[in-house]
């Protein structure tokens, strides 16, 4: 075998090894590829919730069991404080809706198969917030995610289109109704008679100076039952900062 032949052989081997190395380098890391395999929500998707919106749409989401807290702090409107006889009128309107309804006795199933009962389904029509609202998570796996608009925000308040927002909330969620509550401890829960009274007046506008909703799941649809894109925007969060901590 001549020296020239051996050089060619070495060159071929070198090329082969180089090709393997370069190819392996070219092949991108696929940290997410493994997770693309089918991952049901529990065995056989048995842990999916079955929910029906007020509009009659049935959904089967896989739920995180993380609470989204919508907080609009109720500010004290009087400098006198919170003494027994001191009034703190709730005259500000930080949020408003054109109609509200509630349905009690709701049960949710979560991704781990656990269930939670005693929840309420609230349905808001044209829900908008004018100031000071934050959406933040609690109960996440070691993190908090916060959505904080500088001022206004809208959930289902597209112009020219009626949009409903269905929220499944815990019984200790509260609202503070404008001109109906006057004290520092005027939080109205879904199981409160005042809320029931408001519920009777569906299609009557309501507003409030505070809100603290503990939302297990919310869905809003800007168009038909199938959620087609309308360009109307179900959720509008102007000047909003999203953070993960």
């Amino acid at each position: 075998m001549t020296g020239t032949t051996r050089r060619w052989q070495r060159a071929w081997v070198f090329l082969a090894v180089l090709a393997v190395v370069v190819t392996l380098g070219l092949w991108p890391d696929s940290p997410r590829e493994a997770a693309h395999a089918a991952q049901a929500c529990g065995a056989g998707d048995a842990n999916r919730a079955t929910l029906t919106t007020k509009g009659g749409v049935t959904l089967h989401p896989c739920l995180s069991k993380v609470t989204t807290v919508m907080n609009i702090p109720r500010t004290q409107t009087s400098s006198l404080g919170c003494g027994t006889l001191f009034l703190q009128p709730c005259y500000q309107t930080k949020w408003q809706i054109t109609a509200v309804s509630k349905t009690s006795g709701q049960t949710l199933k979560y991704a781990d198969g656990s269930t939670e009962s005693g929840l309420y389904r609230l349905t808001f029509q044209q829900f908008q917030v004018s100031s000071s609202a934050t959406l933040s998570t609690t109960g996440g796996a070691g993190y908090t995610t916060t959505l904080a608009p500088d001022s206004a925000a809208k959930l289902g308040n597209a112009s020219g289109q009626t949009i409903y927002t269905d929220l499944w909330v815990t019984a200790d969620s509260t609202i503070n109704l404008s001109f109906l509550t006057f004290s520092c401890n005027d939080n109205v829960r879904p199981d409160n008679g005042l809320w029931t009274l408001a519920d009777l007046f569906i299609d009557v506008s309501a507003g409030g100076c505070g809100m603290n909703l503990k939302i297990r799941y919310a869905v809003t649809t800007s168009s038909g039952a199938n959620g087609e894109i309308s360009g109307a925007y179900s959720v509008n969060l102007p000047n909003t900062l999203l953070t993960v901590s």
């Binding site: 090894v17 997410r32 995180s64 993380v66 000047n239 909003t240 993960v244």
Partner: protein, 233 residues
């Protein structure tokens, strides 16, 4: 002559053992090149150990999802991020920057920009995109979600790609929160991200990549998320 034969035996190529390696190598090379040409292979941008800044005049996506997930960051371990994904999308300009500290030179700004300079067009197109975000600000019109929007879903159930389960590769079970939307828009977007994956074809008109020492005037995409640094268009 005998000595030459011995040399050949000692130094010659064992083709029977080499052939499989050769074949495997060329097959892999051919496959990789074919996939790259067909834009099947993902473009992955990973930032070593720290976040990069990004900005865009507008990001518009179909089949949009946001879900909490975890990523392994080189040199920094596991980080919890908000994985934002969409099946198809368009952008009005893009800027991604990161500062690296080099010996002698000091801080150097590595910056990628793309766009046509026109704020009325969304000239950048991408499919199967995922951004692992730690902070995002949408200014002006801000963050808009359209169609059916669901809040509180398990990240594993977020859908961004038809027929793909858990496209955000989120941990399964409870504790991982997400938002699913039919479509979404983020206006005047500025944020931090750990990495970006573009799994499908991407068009980046006017692409520029610069490496500029800060001392020579190198600037990042923005200073603070709410500042007045002009957005790319």
């Amino acid at each position: 002559m005998r000595a030459r034969a011995a040399d050949a035996a000692a130094y010659g190529t064992r083709w029977r053992q080499t052939a499989p390696l050769l074949l495997l190598a060329f097959l892999m090379m051919a496959a990789a090149l074919t996939l790259l040409r067909q834009n099947v292979l993902a473009a992955v941008v990973t930032y070593q150990g720290s976040t990069a800044k990004f900005s865009s005049g507008r990001v518009t996506g179909q089949d949009v999802g946001f879900g909490m997930a975890q990523v392994n960051v080189a040199g920094a371990g596991t980080k919890t991020v908000l994985a934002a994904g969409f099946a198809t999308g368009t952008l009005d300009g893009l800027c991604v920057s990161q500062v690296q500290t080099l010996p002698v030179i000091g801080d150097v700004v590595i910056k990628l920009t793309s766009g046509d300079g026109n704020s009325s067009t969304r000239e950048i197109e991408a499919t199967n995109v995922q951004l692992d975000i730690t902070q995002l600000r949408g200014s002006g019109t801000g963050i808009n979600l359209d169609g059916r929007v669901q809040i509180g879903m398990a990240s594993q159930d977020i859908t961004t790609l038809a027929g793909v389960d858990n496209p955000l590769s989120a941990p399964t079970g409870t504790g991982w929160w997400g938002i699913d939307a039919t479509a979404g828009d983020i206006f005047s977007a500025k944020g931090y991200l750990y990495d970006a994956e573009i799994g499908g074809p991407m068009t980046l008109p006017g692409l520029r990549i610069s490496v500029t020492p800060k001392s020579a005037g190198g600037t990042e995409c923005w200073s603070t998320p709410g500042d007045a640094t002009p957005l790319p268009h």
